[in-house]
Amino acid sequence: MLNVNNLYKTFAPGTVNEVKALIDVSLHIEEGCFTAVIGTNGSGKSTLLNAIAGSFKPDHGRINLFEHNITNWPEYKRASLIGRVFQNPFAGTAAGMTISENIALAMRRGKRRPLTAAITSRIRDEIAERVKTLKMGLEDRLDNPIGTLSGGQRQALTLLMASWLRPQLLLLDEHTAALDPKTAAKVSEITKEIITREKLTAMMVTHSMQQAVDLSDRIIMMHRGRIVEDLRDEMKARVRISDLMQTFERVQKLDLFDQSVAEILEQQFV
């Protein structure tokens, strides 16, 4: 379904600020799979998501989504296939427009938007019905500007909007990181509900081990631009938060293993 092959991306190449953000990343994600991407800061996980979304072109490699080779597609063209939710609850929605207006825009993402009434009574009922599934009471506030809502409410709506047209791929980039713990838990719950109900294929970047273990079908861990762990099927089923923490520690310790450590081992490891 999603095939990423030998993806490379270096930012500021040839300068002192050069960062090899993706190094030979290959990944196959099957339809209906909810994949969590975890990793240390700067490990390349958001870069991977942005590469798939089309925020930049990779230096090398190929990205296929279903039958489409989307490697050279611009971001707006990919938006017809890909839904996104960002870390910032204020991104992804138009603050001055009402809830129903924002959703009406999302309903026509990637489609023609002719000069006709965007919100008919039928569409309004449909919006109210879907918004009701969030169980936040927002169905009674459809005419309120979305900018008047809390971060959690906006993020839940953004999630609903991103998944409205059942995108072929839903990308969630630390979409609960800016929320307080209780709201983050609520948005996580809504995420799981929407993805399960709509049978979506999704990739979620997160720093929350709890989310990765509880929500996803598969966990990918990145470190220094590479995939260092891929837990799926029975390995994912048995993994616990403490296991992920240990893996984090392990990959970080690997950075401390230098020539001087090798010399110690040569002397001491008998």
């Binding site: 392990r250 690997l254 401390l256 293993f257 110690i264 001491q268 490891f269 008998v270």
Partner: protein, 410 residues
């Protein structure tokens, strides 16, 4: 709640004040469990200023008493307020109550009386005076794997060993899974050679004796007739592995000794095999960075406040020779050492004389081991992690006899 504590002889006298209810119960039990961790196994709770005790508070008291009884300690509530006294009487816990302080409670603080108290206690146990060492498998890094060099060993209750091996049935299967192991009283703890895998363990039960196919093995059979207890005193807050090994060699007066340590960890330094040496087709020198594919390194001092079960062998050396099986210490003069440590969640043990068998039985009834490390010394200037250090615990040890000196010393 507020607590003030005083050490008085073998007792810790804790003056508590406030309400022992649901809001304070967790704080109360964690405070008292920390006392037990610090080696205070006889606790007197002076409760004249404890104004209220709820069922949640009683539950916290029960948890504390259980923890103290597990280390053969004692717990008494002295001069309880009338409310606490009445509540404990009516709920059937009056056995905890004492009207006044015990007769053997010293009047003054013990610390002031004996400032030079030794951090070590030595005990003589039953058993033969020395163990017999054999070295049935002698692989050294990074020699080619040859199944003819494997040695299958069944470990019984008097066996102690460390090395590299696998518990699998066939030689071919075993070759893929060669990892470090240690054996204490026949109990085998084995680390599969893959990062992230948990240590496995095999325990002798009835007719079953654990069997390992060993690529490398230092194997001793016999008793551990000596016991060394160590705990922080004064400025002495931890014990280095090398320091304990030197103490063992001094006490046995032997050139070669074996020891088992069960202790709370201050920090361990070590590595683990992460790729089976059974995959080596030819003799190799594995350079950096390829060595990272074969060995992991802890990178920092690891597993503080957990519990280590260590089996090791120590020697003062032999005529300036090097050993392929004992690493020369870089931090202790004339010390050669090979030790493996299994890490378990913290488990307090009683003070004084304690049998190794009772410790291992208790240990393996609890949570499984978290890791197994081949202990190393890291004496790199400025960045070095030092040696493994321990806070308090027990060390059983013995002198070693062997007729394989040529194998041990190159």
């Amino acid at each position: 709640m507020q607590f003030r504590q005083q050490e008085k002889g073998k007792y810790l006298l804790v003056h508590a004040s406030g309400r022992l209810d649901a809001s304070w119960a967790d704080h109360f039990s964690s405070t008292f469990k920390e006392y037990i961790r610090q080696g205070q196994h006889h606790i007197l709770l002076e409760a004249s200023e404890v104004s209220y005790l709820s069922s949640a508070g009683i539950r916290a008291l029960v948890q504390v008493v259980k923890s103290i009884m597990a280390v053969q300690g004692s717990f008494q509530i002295i001069r309880a307020s009338s409310f606490v006294h009445q509540t404990l009487q009516m709920t059937g816990f009056e056995s905890w109550l004492k009207a006044d302080f015990p007769d053997d409670l010293p009047a003054e603080d013990t610390e002031a009386q004996i400032p030079d108290e030794s951090p070590f206690e030595l005990y003589q146990l039953n058993g033969s005076t020395a163990m017999q060492l054999s070295v049935p498998a002698t692989w050294v890094p990074w020699k080619a794997f040859n199944s003819n060099n494997l040695s299958s060993i069944r470990f019984g209750h008097q066996d102690f060993a460390l090395g590299i091996g696998a518990p699998h049935q066939s030689d071919q299967d075993a070759s893929m899974h060669m990892g470090e192991f240690l054996v204490v009283g026949g109990n085998v703890i084995y680390q599969p050679p893959r990062e992230g895998d948990k240590p496995d363990f095999l325990l002798p039960e009835k007719a079953y004796l654990p069997e390992m196919h060993c690529l490398q093995a230092l194997h001793c059979t016999g008793d551990m007739p000596h016991l060394l207890r160590f705990s922080p005193k004064g400025n002495k807050t931890y014990f280095g592995l090398g320091e304990l090994a030197e103490k063992v060699l001094t006490e046995t007066g032997s050139a070669l000794a074996a020891f088992v340590i069960f202790a709370e960890i201050d920090g361990l330094v070590g590595s683990s095999i992460i790729q089976s040496p059974g995959l080596l087709k030819e003799d190799r020198i594995i350079p950096f960075p390829d060595i990272k594919e074969w060995l992991s390194f802890c990178g920092e001092r690891v597993f503080p406040r957990q519990q280590a079960l260590i089996f090791g062998m120590a020697s003062k050396g032999l005529d300036g020779k090097k050993s392929p099986l004992l690493a020369g210490s870089t931090m202790h003069k004339n010390l050669f050492l090979h030790a493996h440590a299994a890490v378990f969640p913290y488990l307090p043990i009683e003070s004084g004389v304690i049998k190794l068998k009772s410790v291992t039985e208790k240990l393996f009834k609890g949570p499984p081991p978290m890791a197994l490390l081949h202990l190393l010394e890291d004496s790199r200037p400025s960045t070095g992690l030092g040696e493994s250090t321990l806070i308090r615990g027990a060390c059983w040890y013995t002198a070693i006899n062997t007729n394989q000196e040529d194998t041990i010393w190159a």
